[in-house]
Every structure is written in C-alpha cells, then in structure tokens.
C-alpha cells in the first residue's frame, strides 16, 4: 500500500502585515479578520528560490523521521512559479541541492491550488507502476514572484510556503477514490498577464466556481467513497479565503469545527494549503476529506483514511 507517511513544511519568516495596508486598500480589520481571513502573508526572501523553499521543507521532513535521501526514488514538484523560467525543471534543481541518487526520478507538475490533490494521485500512481517504496511530493508556489502589489484582489490574499510529503509503502494515510474536474474555458479567471507578467484574478468568477462546482465535487466524491458528511472528521479545504471556506462549508452543511480556516497568519499558499492542514492533523482523526480548486480552472478531491 502506498500513501502519505509524513509531511514537512516551510513557512518563510517574512510577513506582510495586511493591517498596515487597510487604508491603501480601503478595508477594515473586520474585513481582514472575518471575510478574507488573511491578517498576515508569509513572504520569502528576495533571493530565495522555489527550490530553496522545497529544500527547507525537506529539512523539516527529515527532522520528523528517519528519512534517508539515498532511499528516495522519485521527487515531484508542484509549482507554477519555478526557479528561473522553469528550465531546468525545479524538481531537478531540488534533486541536485539535496544530493539525491541518480536513480531518482524528478519531474514537475504545473497546477495551482488543486495541485496537491492531483500531485498525490500522480505520485502514488507513478510509484505503484514502478514498484517504488519512497517518493517525495513537494508543493512550492511563491506567488510573491508574480503579485501586483497594487491589486487589491490578489495582494491581500496570497502567501509563500512549501511542503514536502513523504509518500511511502509505510503510510499513515491512504487515499480513497479521487474525483477530478476541469473548466478550461474559464481558465482566464486566474492567469498571468502576458504584458506585465503579474497575476490577475476575476474574483467574482473564481467565487462562483468555488461556490458551485466545488461543493458538488465534494458531495460526489463522498458518494463515490460511500461516505457521508458525518463520516468525515475534518474537511481540509483549500484556503482560498475565509469567505470561500465558509461558503463551501455552509453549502455542504459541514459543522464549522470540521472545516478549519487556518491561514490567517500566512495567507493563501496555493498548493501548499492542504498539506499545511494535514501536517497538523489531530491524532483522533480517522478520515479527512481534502479538496483543492483554482487555477485551470481545475478541482480535485479525495478522502484520506488513517492506516491502523
């Protein structure tokens, strides 16, 4: 059985305090606290690369267990803000910086906020197909590289983070059935502007998508796994904003304490948001639903079962 064994993370020490920007963006503290939910945003150092963030998350992973780099057979990096312009692939740069063996496969996945769930399915399938026992799924998408500091719709939301998830044949969590989806015709809702190289987001379009397609996907995924809302101990929803999390939670009738919003001190960390929740999983949780959604537009969900 292949599944999640351990999760390491890296949150840069740097922070942007949104409370100091309230006048600039004409918002009040209640809006930051109760609506967007993002009080502070984690921000990487100027000279810190995406691969550096992955390596720091890997260091945290090593501190949590007995992971031997020479035993790692594949590394997958999920990012759309790679080192340089993406060539070579960031996973190869991580491979070099960590001194991983030549027999270790390394490739990137280009996805945003749905990336961890997609990445989990991809790396599990890759490992099963090739008989691998140890692989690492990284998420690192530092949007600070592409944020327009004057854009209220995005610059109050996104933070930088990285995670490293050890996938092994000695898992703590195994995944159930996944359910995926894409709405390519709405892809321009979240994109990099060709002229400026900066992120642009149609907030209304993304909200409508998140409030309609995502609850339907989660409900269908639970049915596919023969589960009900009450069977799930925690819904680890992508932390787009507090309002998005609350909206999805209410539409599905999930109790507030089962769909936590935890990103107030670091922001929307894109594909890292779900593993950051999983890393803090309560020992009592037996089943966790995970749901990622965003750039693409794309979405994916599954259930994680604790392995006894």
């Amino acid at each position: 059985m292949i599944g999640i064994q351990t999760i390491g993370s890296y949150l840069p020490a740097g922070r942007t305090d949104n409370r100091k920007r309230m006048t600039q963006f004409d918002v009040d503290e209640a809006f930051l606290q109760d609506r967007s939910g993002m009080l502070r945003l984690a921000v990487k150092a100027q000279n810190e690369e995406t691969s550096d963030m992955c390596c720091r998350a890997f260091g945290d992973l090593q501190r949590k267990g007995t992971l031997r780099p020479d035993k790692i057979e594949c590394v997958v990096v999920c990012t759309q803000n790679p080192d340089g312009r993406g060539m070579p692939n960031t996973s190869s740069i991580v491979h070099a910086k960590l001194g991983l063996p030549e027999s270790c496969a390394a490739f990137d996945i280009s996805l945003g906020c749905s990336g961890f769930v997609y990445g989990l399915s991809v790396i599990q399938g890759f490992m099963k197909a090739n008989g691998f026992r140890n692989g690492v799924l990284f998420t690192a998408d530092p949007y600070s590289k592409v944020i327009d500091e004057q854009d209220k719709g995005t610059s109050l939301l996104f933070g930088d983070a990285a995670t490293a998830t050890l996938i092994s044949d000695n898992p703590l969590w195994r995944a159930g059935k996944f359910l995926f989806g894409s709405l390519g015709r709405e892809g321009a809702s979240i994109q990099i502007q060709l002229g400026t190289g900066k992120l642009s987001m149609n907030g209304r379009g993304v909200f409508s998508f998140s409030a309609t397609v995502v609850p339907q996907n989660i409900a269908a995924m639970l049915a596919a796994n023969d589960l009900k809302i009450e069977d799930i101990d925690c819904f680890a929803l992508h932390q787009g904003s507090r309002y998005i999390v609350d909206t999805i939670r209410k539409k599905l009738g999930i109790p507030e304490n089962k769909a936590p919003f935890v990103a107030a001190d670091y922001g929307n960390t894109v594909s890292s948001s779900i593993p950051l929740i999983l890393e803090q999983a309560s020992p009592g949780w037996k089943r966790i639903a995970i749901a990622g959604f965003g750039v693409g537009l794309s979405w994916a969900s599954t259930v994680l079962y604790r392995v006894n």
Binding site: R35, N202, R204, F207, S208, T247
Partner: protein, 76 residues
C-alpha cells in the same frame, strides 16, 4: 416589478449574508445595509441560479440596490 424585488430580497436572505435583510427595501443601497463586495458576489450568484441568467461583469458596478438588480434582470 414588486414580485421581482421580493424575489431578489428572498435570494439575499437565502444566501446568508451577514447584513440584517429585514431592513432592505427595493431602493436601499445594499452597501449601506452592510452587504460588502464578498456578500454581493454571493447574492449575484444566487440570483443567477434562481433566474437562470448570467449577469455580465461590466454591469456589476451599477447594481447598488434591489431595484437596480431588478432592472438589470429585466433587460437581460
């Protein structure tokens, strides 16, 4: 028109905005009633779903009251 404005106010109530919906009349400025930009996205989504229409982005800024929304719906 009265039926339409009542239906719109019903949608505002159903989507669960943080404002006191009982204070909202057809000509009440929704922002002054406490419906912020996030709740407004939720309201417009609810209206689109209820009436089976798509309200274009370029018309959003002009939708300040229930009457404005009703006029917009009638023009679609």
């Amino acid at each position: 028109m009265k039926v339409l404005t009542d239906d719109i106010i019903a949608v505002i109530r159903e989507v669960g905005v943080s404002a006191d919906v009982s204070r909202i009349r057809a000509d009440t400025r929704l922002s002054e009633a406490g419906i912020d930009s996030l709740d407004m996205m939720n309201v417009l989504l609810g209206i689109e779903q209820k009436f089976g229409v798509k309200i274009p982005d370029e018309r959003i800024n002009a939708l300040r009251t229930v009457d404005d929304i009703a006029s917009c719906l009638q023009s679609l």
